[in-house]
Symmetry: C2
Subunit: 431 residues, 2 copies
Amino acid sequence: MSTLFKNTAVLTKKEGKYEVIKDAYLGVEGKNIDYIGTKKPEKHYEIVKDFSNKLLMPGLVNSHTHIPMVFLRGIADGLPLDKWLNEKVFPIESKLNADQIRISSYYAILELLASGVTSFTDMYFFPEGTAHAVKDSGIKANINKYILCFDENQSIEESMIPVSFDFYNKYNNTCDGRLKVDFSIHAEYTNKTHIVKEYSRLCKENNAIMHIHLCETKNEVDNCIEKYHKTPVEWFEELGTFENPTCAAHVVWPTDNDLDILKRHNVSIVHNPSSNLVLGSGIAPLRKVLDKGINVGLGTDGTASNNNLNMFEEMHIASIVHNGYNHDATNIRSEEIIDMATINGAKLQGRDNTGVLKEGNAADIIAIDMSGIHMYPVFDYFSILTKSAQASDVYMTMVDGKILYEDGKYLTLDKDRIVKEFKEAVESFYN
Amino acid sequence: MSTLFKNTAVLTKKEGKYEVIKDAYLGVEGKNIDYIGTKKPEKHYEIVKDFSNKLLMPGLVNSHTHIPMVFLRGIADGLPLDKWLNEKVFPIESKLNADQIRISSYYAILELLASGVTSFTDMYFFPEGTAHAVKDSGIKANINKYILCFDENQSIEESMIPVSFDFYNKYNNTCDGRLKVDFSIHAEYTNKTHIVKEYSRLCKENNAIMHIHLCETKNEVDNCIEKYHKTPVEWFEELGTFENPTCAAHVVWPTDNDLDILKRHNVSIVHNPSSNLVLGSGIAPLRKVLDKGINVGLGTDGTASNNNLNMFEEMHIASIVHNGYNHDATNIRSEEIIDMATINGAKLQGRDNTGVLKEGNAADIIAIDMSGIHMYPVFDYFSILTKSAQASDVYMTMVDGKILYEDGKYLTLDKDRIVKEFKEAVESFYN
């Protein structure tokens, strides 16, 4: 299958510098981009699409989320974190079954595709259902079966490690490479030293990626220091976790020494501003982190602490909140936000052939409808994309050269059936 | 003209408490709501609309904006405030003519209506053009011809007071009361004592509303204290400005004494979180202001410091940023945000028959399409409206019983003509 987009604008990046090519052609052959230019390609493409008034840009990577939590969207609005977790989220989650997770994953992917997400990193239980939804939908994802341990005396065999490793072996690099499986430690405060050490070693043995929650709240850091006389970052470092390519979500409360450790080990950070604001966790030191040269992705977190999986809102909030907090209109540049939402996410997922539109890269592409009233004038594409564009401006989402969503329609998923099944599941669970 | 909405949900408020009535009818006779209930009304309505899967709620009030600044949308992204103003905004504004302001106003109202705004308070020059756009579109607005004075020795006659007063006399309470004119002082730092004193007196003589910028930046407050040994709030109080029903925009840097003064004089505040974040102005002490019992509206400010006129994004940001900043997930309640975006805005505009859906009130109503993937499940309507809903979920906007926007179409404005004319104006100005 080959597709040519014509009369379109294309956001490319050459030698680290973004450029918008206008009145351009972009050709896709199989899974990859094979042409970008202003001259009409000589080659014949099977499908030709006139994308006037549209901008093609790299698909968005939601680098840290818990997509099945759409089942709990906004359920505990206005509760403090401990009540949110202990009185609402945990009791509900303890009753959710694999089938509810499965249908929730399909439902969430409808939202992801319609808002321009071509890949996501997820951390939730019963990930088998999420794997099926990834397979059927055509989206890319890094998922995992994360480990928890609350018992000092639990043996490795009795721990979640074998189960997590089985899941890794069964699903990693399936769906033609679209589906990858990471190793994952839920967090320091939900695990024990001997388990984390062994699991980190096993991750290294398998050259896998590690995904963790890290320094989300001040409490987490304070409690860890009290317990271990170490910050969570120091604790994970000592246990060998960071000897793996690691992706750490949140990181709202790192010390300067923590950031040095993370940089030294090439740990990637996922910024989750909406969730950190909603739950009162705080405002992460994004400028400082970027200035260290740390790779930073962007994520929505789950919809119980965000209310949506909307990466455009996440870009908007990330692009303005640090300026206000630091009293500096130049604190975060819009291009940095686009990097975080695209190429940096691809990097932390271990996907090196995507995140930027260029010949040879995977055709993970979204088209933004530039004709909205709120999208004009365009003095600066990055300003418009981060602060004006809405999820509803996404016209098309393509992954590996296949269109999954276009003009409000899903090409791989049966929206009506999924919505019906999800609503039945929600209503029978809560009533 | 009479209209009946059936099979709809209606957000009402009784004795200060919100309630969502499901499977309801809402009847509109002429300009007003004449029925809300679950029983089918006996009366015959000329038009009957089935609004299944929709929620009717009060129209949004954008309580502080500069709508013609769509001409400068995002023009100075990432510039610090002084460069933003002095190198970009001011030089451009000095060249804008009345016709450019007029077409910009029409264009901006397209964005307002499509995103559920039924009334706005504007502060910009050449407001005659904005008045015409208000007249033709059917929207409600409080506009003004604000005063500036940089000359200690300027006489009242030579000042902008007579011009501002003429504008007030000509346009106030026109368009059947939809268009109101306020008095307006741009800010402390752009005015002189004798002018502000006389203008405040004249405002009182006319029982008008005063609209001002106040304590937007720390610099503004510091410079005022250096100049007058008073905060801007103390300065305005002494000059009699607050003896008028006053609406003060921004108020990011008030002292505790300032808030006491504002409360004592029943001054309303407009919260503009996006603009304050974008420009690095800071994060206003919203909880403290609400706890004082001060009336607080919500506004987008202009699109040069926001990039859009989207009150749903403004509600979202206002509903989460204070929780994060104050490390308290319970800092601001979603209902408070809905109040700010509706009834509180109506109050500060001096419109006492709108802002809440109830029988007898003006039919200033918007319909939210609740069928979006991101709008389910609904555990809490306020959480969904402030943190999940997008501007693109607005299905209908009605003002004074007249539908101005429905299902993507404008009923009073010629969208294509306005867009064409606006684009021609922008292109000929900047090229």
